[in-house]
């Protein structure tokens, strides 16, 4: 696969295929960030080689959606199809949550409220080294329930880490319910603005809008950046969209086929 194949269709098709093969859940979460991942890996991240020490860093803080990133790593040619097909198999490094042993994964995550802290450290390291590399961190809206997130938010603003770009996947859902019911995270933009971040609201399924917005982030402005990506949980598969249960469930044969048909129709 070549870079031009990193499309929303390809990412979603791999998510469905691998989730079905492995018979695992977290499908809705992966579909939610599929277009964000396309924007990052097709156009935004400057990673000529995953081993380049001065590459941009990317942290998937909402680690449970790692399948979407594995799809991108495969489409970039950094992991093989054989490796991709070990997803959730015994002995595989491709688990539900990402491990840094895998080429292309900068930090292991899985425990919510941790990735942004490590990403802020990565941005600080670049700042100390006077490198122009950037750090991107993708968090979930429910992850902002974690107090540790706001420790990093304060730090990044205070230290003017404008090389730090955070994307929040604002799909309004969390494990046991909708965020407005579990722990209201409304006025997300206002929260981040109040902490001194440069805030941009975007359609989290509009790849070109996200690319343009991130391209225009001034990495010398003195403010860290937050892209609030308004997304639909389970985006692209009608029966999964905005449905809590697809945080957990694997697909039946019939559900898989319907999902693929719907994704194929967008090709």
């Amino acid at each position: 696969m070549r870079e031009e194949n990193i499309s929303s269709y390809h990412i979603r098709k791999i998510i469905l295929d691998q989730a079905k093969r492995a018979n695992v859940g977290h499908i809705g979460s992966a579909l939610s960030i599929a277009d964000i991942v396309v924007a990052l890996y097709a156009n935004v991240l400057n990673v000529p080689d995953p081993c380049d020490s001065d590459r941009d860093r990317f942290v998937l803080s909402k680690g449970h959606a790692a399948l979407a990133v594995y799809a991108a790593l495969f489409l970039k040619g950094w992991i093989t199809e054989e490796s991709l097909n070990t997803y959730c198999e015994d002995g595989s490094v491709l688990g539900v949550h990402p491990e840094h042993l895998l080429k292309g994964i900068d930090f292991s995550t899985g425990s919510l409220g941790h990735g942004l802290l490590m990403g802020t450290g990565a941005a600080l390291a670049a700042h100390l080294e006077r490198s122009s590399r950037r750090t991107f961190v993708l968090i979930s809206d429910a992850e902002c329930n974690e107090g540790s997130i706001w420790e990093a938010v304060m730090f990044a603003a205070h230290h003017r880490l404008s090389n730090l770009i955070t994307i929040v996947d604002l799909n309004g859902q969390q494990a046991l319910g909708y965020t407005r019911q579990v722990l209201n995270m409304s006025s997300m933009a206002e929260r981040w603005k109040a902490f001194g971040w440069n805030v941009k609201d975007v359609d989290g399924h509009n790849v070109s809008q996200m690319i343009d917005t991130m391209a225009n982030f001034d990495t010398k402005s003195g403010s860290p950046h937050i892209l609030i990506a308004h997304t639909v949980f389970g985006k692209g598969v009608s029966y999964m969209e905005n449905q809590i249960k697809w945080h957990y469930l694997p697909m039946s044969d019939a559900e898989y086929q319907q999902a693929v048909n719907e994704i194929e129709a967008t090709k």
Partner: protein, 309 residues
């Protein structure tokens, strides 16, 4: 210890620009030898220990060697999961520096005590654990371990004046240090309470009981062979630690005795109950929890009597 440690760290930073120091808003009149000299490599992250460890993980990924500094429970217990999932699981060279192991923070109360830090961290095979006995050993242990490729925890006392007689700053990773050649009791200890043990041994000597002191500053990797070899020479051993008796040096020695089938009676001296809220100086707390030299002496004499029965 903390003063010697920071001064030594500043010496190292002179030669290696990878060293950075983060503090969780603590270290007044301690950190200046570093912070004054390396202003661009010193960051007060604020009162945010979880973030401090997360930041250090990100810094270490980029090739830096970050030291994070706070009082023991805030350095270890608050951010424990961040230590586990960060430097330990990534095997990054983050250094956690905890000040005031045991009850050194005296009347500040139990929130500031380090009674389980070694026990908690000893559950993690992937972190080196160093608990120096005095400031000379704090310096030598830092010089021996600062550039290890993996994470390290340093449990440091506040005392920068007294030394443990006969230790002379000796340290070797994975080994224990011995003081004296007594034959009645082997007393095994870690951390700054070693000076209390030294006083205990002096008192016991006046009563005709001769002891050997074994200092374990390298709690991980543990000096298992040294422990086994020493225990083989004694019928009675005491462990002494300013720590709960579970998880620390008493547990380590128990494991060696059990796993290697050694015929040695062990008495573990440490904190055995949850502190009840009554506070005082470290000396008072040592007396309250049976860890003063006088009370350790009584424990040792009682143990000898029981051994002879």
């Amino acid at each position: 210890m903390r003063g010697a440690f920071i001064r030594t760290l500043a010496e190292l930073a002179e030669c290696d620009s990878r060293i950075v120091l983060l503090t969780g808003d603590l270290g007044y009149a301690v950190l200046e030898p570093f912070s004054d000299k390396f202003q661009d490599r010193f960051i007060n992250v604020g009162v945010a220990e979880q973030n401090m460890v997360g930041l250090a993980t990100g810094l270490a990924e980029a090739g830096l060697i970050p030291f994070v500094y706070s009082i023991v429970p805030f350095a270890v217990l608050r951010p424990f999961e961040f230590i586990r999932n960060g430097p330990i699981l990534h095997q990054f060279p983050v250094r956690i520096v905890g000040i005031g192991g045991g009850m050194e923070y005296g009347s500040n109360g139990v929130s500031h005590y380090g009674l389980e830090d070694i026990g908690v961290l000893r559950t993690q095979p992937g972190i080196t654990l160093i608990a120096p006995a005095d400031y000379e050993q704090a310096r030598s242990s830092l010089l021996a371990t600062w550039d290890l490729p993996c994470p390290v925890y340093y449990r440091l006392g506040k005392d920068d004046k007294n030394v443990v007689p006969g230790l002379s700053g000796r340290f070797e990773l994975g080994r224990a240090q011995f003081i004296g050649e007594g034959t009645d009791i082997l007393i095994i200890t870690m951390g700054s309470i070693a000076s209390e043990v030294a006083s205990t041994i002096e008192i016991l000597y006046t009563q005709g009981i001769s002891c050997t002191m074994m200092i374990i500053a390298s709690m991980n990797p543990p000096p298992v062979d040294d422990i086994e070899e020493a225990l083989a020479q004694f019928r009675l051993a005491l462990t002494v630690e300013a720590h709960y008796i579970i998880g620390g040096v008493g547990s380590l020695v128990s494991e060696v005795i059990a796993e290697r089938g050694l015929p040695c009676r062990l008495v573990r001296c440490g904190v055995k109950v949850t502190p009840n809220g009554i506070t005082g100086s470290q000396e008072y707390m040592y007396r309250a929890y049976g860890l003063s030299a006088e009370m350790l002496t009584m424990t040792a004499i009682q143990a000898i009597r029981e051994l002879k029965c």
